[in-house]
Amino acid sequence: MNDRIEKRIELKASVSRVWQALTDYREFGEWFRVKLDGPFVAGEVSRGQITYPEYEHLKWEAVVQKMEAERLFSFTWHPYAIDPKVDYSKEPQTLVEFKLEKTATGTLLLLSESGFDKIPAGRSLEAFRMNDGGWTQQMKNIEHHVTEKP
């Protein structure tokens, strides 16, 4: 089991185009499907309304962390908060990071979402690698148990 989600995607568009799509609140809203109240500002809360079909009743709320032009955009939020009756404030907040890299054909976008287990990214895994037996093997054991009992 991972304590983070990682994605990489090649985009045939310039870094500045991708940066704009990520950080202009209207453009972000277009593809993410959320109607945001106003621009993203580092250190400030971003609020809005989800526009994804069947989830329009949901509010969007995130805290913008970093906006390093054309390199890094990050925010913290409660992932997958789809039930309006649930108080997600008790759930762990995760950190979403978008990192941009220029490539020959456009832009490499690296997305990560971390902090699901409340341990700073990678620390838990490091701790286990230093132990006899190793975390990797233990995770395989867990995986085995999990698949054994569907």
Binding site: M1, I5, L22, F32, R33, D83
Partner: protein
């Protein structure tokens, strides 16, 4: 759904500690362990281990079983599976969002 979210919070909280992860790692080898076995090669006291086991029990990750006079603890993979499914859903949602971003910037 509300109950599931509460459980998930408890599971995440239970997993957010290195000692408890280490206990899970020991227990998920399949055999139920006694507190004495779990305390061996640990710097922690029996009381401290007991406290951590209680947190894991509340999250449903570990169950106590009686073996004669002794109490043993066994690993239950179900809550971890629930977390895994949850992460799969979040992951799937990002795949969809990034696919929309791709067509948005490439058009």
């Amino acid at each position: 759904m509300a109950a599931a979210a509460r459980d998930r919070a408890a599971i995440f909280a239970a997993l957010g500690d290195e000692t408890r992860l280490l206990l899970i790692a020991k227990l998920c080898s399949g055999q139920p362990h006694s507190i004495s076995e779990l305390t061996v090669d640990s710097k922690l006291t029996r009381q401290a281990i007991t406290k951590h086991l209680r947190v894991l029990q509340r999250a449903g990750i570990v169950h106590g079983v009686r073996a004669g006079r002794e109490k043993r603890f066994e690993f239950d993979p179900e809550p971890m599976q629930e977390i895994k499914q949850y992460l799969d859903i979040v992951s799937e949602q990002w795949d969809q969002a990034l696919a929309r971003l791709k067509s948005f910037v490439e058009d």
